[in-house]
Amino acid sequence: MTATLTPQTGGSHAGGSHRRATPPAAHQLSAPARALRWLRRNVVTLFGILALAYMTLPNLVVLLFSFNDPNGKFNYTWNGFTLDAWKDPFGVAGIKDSLITSLEIAFLSTLFATVLGTAVAFALGRYRFRGRGLTNTLLFVPMSMPEVVMGASLGTLFLNMRISFGFWTILIAHVMFCLSFVVVAVKARVLGMDPKLEEAAQDLYASPTQTFLRVTLPIAAPGIGAGALLAFSLSFDDFVITNFNSGDTVTFPMFVWGAAQRGTPPQINVIGSAMFFIAIAVVIVGQVRTNRRKQKAS
């Protein structure tokens, strides 16, 4: 019984490792019993690894099939290894233009959504005002609405207003659904900010503009950056809302949607995999930089 009464020290708080009766020492157990015990202790971890495998498997398939030499129009069955698609990633009509359109829209909608969203987040995080609850509701509802409903209703508005679909209607739609996510990301940071820092700046004779630019903005920057990254990836990857508001304009997801009907070139897999590696690189670079900053600070 001693095991239960000794307080656990350190950060280990693994749920299953703490048993009521002192377990027999490992050497007293037969091999299968030992294996069974190990399995019982690590079953959650093993299950977690299986879940991660389930989540990563499609990416591996996408990568593998970017090296496929498909027999026919569709790239669904393995036929043979080739580097052709990687050597010529834009070798399919329309794929390059769709990628450029997607990047343009993602860049612009990130810019708009981040500026508008940061202003809203500052208002919510800083000031008392009437209509707060209403504002929160209006921000929350788009995040909890299925994309089809948002896409179809915005499309209906454009139809009724006789606005023709294209680049600008996609941009308007993307700013609309990215906005709430930027607000959430920035608001968390603004609410966690110590108001004394700004008071200190003003005590040191900083003008309101100086205080904002030299104190407030740098502190809020990580939240704004996170919001902008989120907006960029949401916009770049959006298909459903774009589907209802794009007209003849083809973004990369729209290209893939069309390709699924006409034939899927392995170039789609090349671009999908490249996006994955680029995003990973961005994450790693960001991580290394924050680590370095932490080291400098300590």
Binding site: T4, P7, Q8, H13, G15, R19, R20, V44, T45, F47, G48, L52, Y54, M55, L57, P58, N59, V61, V62, Y76, L116, A119, V120, L124, G125, Y127, R128, F129, V141, P142, M143, S144, P146, E147, V148, V149, M150, A152, S153, T156, L157, L159, N160, I172, V175, M176, L179, V184, F239, V240, F252, P253, V256, W257, A260, I268, I271, M275, F276, I280
Partner: protein
């Protein structure tokens, strides 16, 4: 307001020390709010109302549409497409349960077992989603292909016989069956389950586990009485974040399913973009929205976490 926000927490606190703007600056918060909120009113709220109006119109593409309080569009739409709505909510519910079953152990492992590898685990949860979701969903066509490895193994294990009995598969196929659609939905929305679960598990004070142990609770009891109740906010927001988008999805049903597995989203998409019957599309979309709002508010009431939303 934060139950659905993937960041969890963060909001709530702090509202008390907000400053009252000085008399001359009363307009400041409104000036900050105005551009963003006007954008949402014009391009989110008004479209919802316009869609409500369009759903009551009659007419055709050539003659133009006229507002006629034509409520029977709703009735006709429901009568014709109720199977799609049933499938939508059935598949979404099944996918949500699957996400919970797969996502909970994963979130638990990241929060309590990963130790110094926690960062890596989290990156691995999010990283797959950097590849466009359409491209990844196409990959499932390969994975679940007839005579592929996965389907062969499932056939050998007689798994497909069991699912065929349940009406989820047909013959030896997995692709183009409800099972494939549910599988795709589960896969696509799993991170929306894992991240809020992780956020609520991670906040649990490890000393509570030690206290439970000291009070002679075995690991099972500790989980049942301490860990799980404390993770409930994560379960609620995770299930909502999975169920809502899954019930409106149409990509999985279109690519992994067959015409017999169409969901509400597929009908809305077809009516709007191919048939160009805008009143019906608007009515269907309105019905979907209404049903989801009803279900979600009933669920939140039942889950007893009003303070979170």
């Amino acid at each position: 307001m934060n139950a659905l926000a993937p960041t969890g927490g963060g909001g709530g606190g702090g509202t008390d020390d907000l400053k009252e703007p000085p008399k001359r600056g009363r307009w400041v918060p409104y000036a900050l709010l105005a551009p963003g909120m006007i954008w949402l009113v014009v391009f989110f709220l008004i479209p919802m109302l316009v869609q409500g109006g369009t759903s009551l119109q009659t007419g055709g593409l050539e003659k133009g549409y006229e507002f006629t309080w034509h409520f029977s569009t709703y009735w006709d739409a429901l009568q014709t497409y109720y199977p799609q709505f049933l499938r939508s909510f059935g598949y979404a519910a099944a996918a949500t349960v699957m996400c919970l079953v797969i996502g909970y152990p994963l979130a638990y492992a990241i929060a309590f077992k990963a130790g110094k590898w926690r960062g890596l685990w989290l990156v691995l949860v999010i990283a797959p989603f950097f590849t466009s979701f359409l491209v990844r969903t196409l990959a499932w066509k390969t994975i679940l292909a007839d005579n592929g490895i996965v389907v062969d193994v499932l056939n050998t294990l007689h798994f497909t016989d069991v699912t065929a009995l349940l009406g989820l598969t047909e013959g030896d196929r997995v692709l183009a069956t409800p099972l494939a659609v549910i599988c795709g939905l589960t896969y696509n929305f799993l991170p929306f389950m894992v991240l809020p679960l992780y956020a609520s598990l991670e906040r649990i004070d490890p000393r509570l586990h030690e206290a439970a142990n000291d009070l002679y609770a075995d690991p099972k009891t500790t989980f049942r009485k301490v860990t799980f109740p404390l993770s409930l906010p994560g379960v609620v927001s995770g299930t909502l974040l999975t169920f809502i988008p899954a019930s409106g999805d149409y990509v999985n049903a279109a690519w992994l399913g067959s015409p017999d597995t169409g969901m509400a989203g597929n009908v809305i998409q077809t009516q709007f973009l191919r048939v160009l019957d805008y009143p019906t599309a608007a009515a269907l979309s309105f019905i979907l929205m209404l049903l989801i709002v009803l279900m979600v508010s009933a669920y939140i009431r039942k889950a007893g976490t009003e303070e979170l939303v």
